[in-house]
Amino acid sequence: MSDVEILQQLRSADPHRALMRLYDHLPKVDRMVRRNSGTRADAKDLFQDALIILLGKVKEEGFTLTCSISTYLFAICRNKWQEELRRRGRFTQELAAAPDEPADLAGLLAEEGRFGLAERALRSLGDKCLELLKRFYVTREPLLQIAKAIGLAGEGAAKTRKYKCLEEARKRYRELLTKDPVHQPMHP
């Protein structure tokens, strides 16, 4: 499968096969991480995060890749691992970058780092909250339908519930943000 085909599939409704193929690039990341005081599990987490970023990116309009998918994924992992090593307070040399690594990743990664924290905050909510928020933000169902699906009295109840869930998520997200030395709270 060529890069172009993979990108096409990633944009489609069913990116499963393309994602499977992309895991062929995991060993390279695994080697990089384990040579630099990480574990296999670290490498897998890192790589999966890179896949999620790519998956989100390809769906954006006007996204173009200036290098191969493999280089792109590796670059994300390398940058994130460098950041993680700094966070763990380890002295490290710069991890070597590929020559054609995209230069503009810093902004993207800072943003994705915050999104990752938001994801963690959301993950810590109850199932019902997650279900509601997923239906609202991801599948974009109307509130009345959501209310029926998860057993709430009506649109009003769903709205209030959504508010409470989001408010709680925001609180936890803020906490994570302040605890994390890399992603200092935003001051827009």
Partner: protein, 283 residues
């Protein structure tokens, strides 16, 4: 609270591009002067994105499992298939053939090797290499105690107790099965296994064997390959918690069956246990 609720609704609509031109202009104007509102918009935007990521993560995880599956399947899958076929053909040999000499004639050296693997605990090794008669007896034992081997492998190196996935979905009507299938069993183990308060230096599996009776109840649970008291005990405990299985069937009739389930414990390195290291997938 009403006010905050309305404000959040407004931000949601702004982020989802649902405001009309006038509303939008008024909102951007407010945004310009109001730091708190800007912060709210930023946070809510991050939470929208976080929600998307949560869903994408499921897809990415699923692909990871398929990827692993594809890697192992050609090797182990083939072996498991042979074992299952061998067991299956033995299941069809009815007990009447016990003393007959027809069956052994068909048994090739290769097949008997496979059988040996499947029933090694029932037969002493030294007798296996011997005469045909021995092989006949071996078979008869198998007919009485069919053994189904579910091959499993670790899917996650991160969470020690998460790691079991099927390599061969034993959906055949003949085999005993966990209600809801293998994925349900996987989920059950995942939920209930508590990683003992000690650490393994490498990933190992406790093999548990038990009998699924005609009513689906689990009996004669025993460890056939242990890796240490704490792990063995935990594996036994969890298998003991399992609900009734769906019994094996022979010609549509429920029969007793003995099966083997390896429960894999993944090695954890000390580094992974350091609190504060990023676990992006941590619950």
């Amino acid at each position: 609270m009403r006010h905050e609720l309305e404000l959040m609704e407004l931000v949601d609509r702004y982020l989802r591009n649902e405001l009309n031109a006038d509303e939008r202009m008024a909102f951007t104007e407010r945004l310009h002067h109001n730091t708190e509102l800007r912060q709210l918009v930023e946070d809510q935007r991050a939470l929208h994105a976080g929600m998307e990521r949560l869903v994408l993560r499921n897809a990415v995880d699923k692909a990871y499992r398929s990827h692993r599956f594809g890697k192992w399947m050609p090797g182990i899958g083939g072996a498991v298939l042979i074992v299952l076929l061998a067991t299956g053909s033995l299941l069809m040999t009815s007990p009447e053939h016990e003393q007959s000499n027809v069956a052994p004639a068909k048994v090739s050296a290769d097949t008997s090797n496979v059988i040996t693997n499947a029933v090694s605990r029932n037969v002493r090794t030294d007798t296996l290499q011997q005469t045909r008669d021995t092989i006949v007896r071996t078979e008869v034992r198998v007919v009485r105690r069919p053994i189904v081997v579910y091959e499993t492998t670790s899917i996650s190196e991160k969470e020690p107790d998460l790691g079991i996935v099927t390599l061969r979905d034993a959906r055949s009507e003949e085999l005993p099965s966990y209600p809801g299938g293998f994925s349900a069993m996987h989920a059950f183990l995942q939920r209930n296994i508590r990683y003992p308060d000690t650490v393994l230096s490498r990933t190992e599996a406790v093999t548990i064997e038990f009998l699924v009776d005609v009513d689906g109840s689990i009996q004669e649970v025993q460890v056939t390959k242990g890796i240490g008291k704490l792990f063995d005990r935990e594996a036994l405990r969890v298998v003991g918690l399992m609900p009734k299985w769906i019994p094996a069937k022979e010609n549509g009739r429920p029969v007793k069956a003995r099966i083997e389930v390896p429960i894999r414990f993944t090695a954890v390195s000390v580094e992974q246990e350091v609190p504060g290291s990023i676990p992006p997938t941590a619950q």
